[in-house]
């Protein structure tokens, strides 16, 4: 434990904020993120330049949307539906006192990842981050980052409809659930039995698992990958009514 190591190093006034980051956040406090993280997640992040369009036109972080600090709350309707979206506000520097109230407000809308950029635009420049000049977006847009192993809903629907020879849809729901209706051409192996029944599956096809919510589909995917299969999973909600597929809800 870090505190013990520090005591050994001779420090005398040591405290431990034992509750850690989750407690800090759930008490309504803001967290900072870094230029490195923004850079890594570029393209899959809502990046708000709170200095506003005029300042942003002179130079802003690549992909940023310029909305003046005092207008952000008013633009609530523009924010993404996905509450797990990453939202980062920045100013010229960290500007904690200026940005914190807005970050807190946005968090109360249900967003789980709202941050202030540590060091702001100046810090980004210091790190030689990519910038743009001139035109700047003023409308928010958001793309969720695809998870490794996930198949997007549209592609899944295509596979379900066209049944390509190199792909197999594996229904990992229970027998009882599957007996109420399955996707045409799919194979049902409940996730409970999958480990034992891997031998029944072809190694030369990509296997795409689905369940009802994505939870068991992901487990099935893990079992398949550990077993050396080529696989993906559908991380969406699915309903099959009268053998018709209704897909794909988040």
């Amino acid at each position: 434990m870090a505190a013990r190591v520090a005591a050994k190093l001779g420090y005398t006034n040591i405290k431990v904020f034992h509750a850690g980051v989750p407690a800090w956040a759930s008490a309504g406090n803001v967290l900072l993120t870094t230029s490195d993280f923004v850079d890594k997640r570029m393209g899959y992040i809502v990046l708000l330049d709170s200095r506003g369009p005029e300042a942003a036109e002179k130079g802003h972080i690549q992909g940023a949307v310029a909305i003046r600090l005092e207008d952000i709350v008013r633009e609530k309707y523009q924010f993404p539906v996905d509450r797990k979206a990453y939202i980062v506000l920045y100013s010229q520097d960290t500007n904690l006192p200026g940005l914190a109230p807005i970050v807190k407000e946005v968090s109360t809308w249900g967003y789980k990842h709202v941050y202030i950029l540590d060091g702001g635009y100046a810090g980004w420049m210091k790190k030689d981050g990519a910038i743009q000049k001139g035109m700047v977006r003023t409308k928010i847009y958001y793309l969720p980052r695809p998870h490794p192993g996930e198949i997007v809903g549209d592609e899944f629907m295509n596979v379900a409809n066209s049944k390509p020879a190199d792909k197999l849809i594996l229904d990992v729901r229970s027998k009882a659930e599957a007996s109420m209706g399955m996707i045409d051409g799919a194979v049902n192996i409940p996730v409970d039995d999958l480990q034992t029944r891997l031998v029944e599956l072809p190694k030369d096809k990509e296997i795409i698992t689905h369940c009802v919510t994505g939870l068991r589909a992901e487990m099935g995917y893990s079992i398949l990958r550990n077993g050396g299969f080529k696989a993906r999973f559908l991380n969406d909600k699915v309903a099959i009514i009268d053998n018709r597929l209704y897909c794909c809800f988040k």
Partner: protein, 198 residues
């Protein structure tokens, strides 16, 4: 504090089949069962049989299974009504990303958990504990006025993603080599935090 949560970077991105497998149909597969980070402190796990360590990824009540992240890999383990759960009230309390040690038995091809032990909270002497309110007051003042150094002990990648304002990053395993970042004045207020447990 010393437990450093592995970062959940998706799944099995580096899964590669051993080329040996092409030649021998029954190449013995010994998938990784112990998260490397756990072994920093718990060397004895290496000598224990039928255990795995990692962080909870998900749980399915319908499949009576939990999924555990073991570094870049995921492992599905079944559970039974008899499975014992330690340090949390019950199976429903298991949530991402709780660190766990699971003792299992093999039933056919499946792994079935006999004991699920959630990593217990670190014992911190009462006089060392800092409340969120105390920390809020200090952070509002800033390190200079507040006369403190706030240290984030989690892995660097966690710090980069999110950290408490005014904190510096000193990942626990690197404390000794990074001690230069600690204040020179050994009597200055030094505050540590990490991911916190539940």
């Amino acid at each position: 504090m010393k437990y450093l949560k592995p970062v959940l970077i998706g799944v099995c991105a580096i899964f590669v089949l051993s080329p040996l497998e092409a030649f021998s149909a029954k190449a013995p597969q010994t998938p990784q069962m112990l998260t490397k980070r756990c072994l920093n402190c718990h060397q004895k796990y290496k000598d224990m049989e039928d255990i795995l360590t990692g962080t909870i990824k998900s749980r399915s009540n319908k499949a009576k299974s939990i999924q555990v992240t073991i570094d870049s890999r995921m492992q599905v383990v079944k559970y039974m009504p008899e499975t014992t759960i330690k340090n949390v009230p019950g199976i429903k309390s298991l949530k991402e990303p709780m660190p766990v040690r699971i003792h299992y038995k093999r039933v056919g091809e499946d792994l079935v958990a006999t004991d699920i032990v959630v990593k217990p909270k670190m014992e911190v002497p009462k006089e060392q504990l800092m409340s969120v309110e105390e920390l809020e007051k200090l952070v509002a003042l800033g390190p200079e006025k507040g006369g403190y150094t706030l240290v984030d002990s989690r892995p660097g990648i966690k710090y980069k993603a999110e950290h408490i304002p005014t904190a510096i990053s000193i990942p626990f395993p690197k404390m000794k080599e990074m001690k230069g970042k600690l204040p020179k004045d050994k009597n200055q207020l030094l505050i540590f935090y990490c991911e916190g447990m539940r």
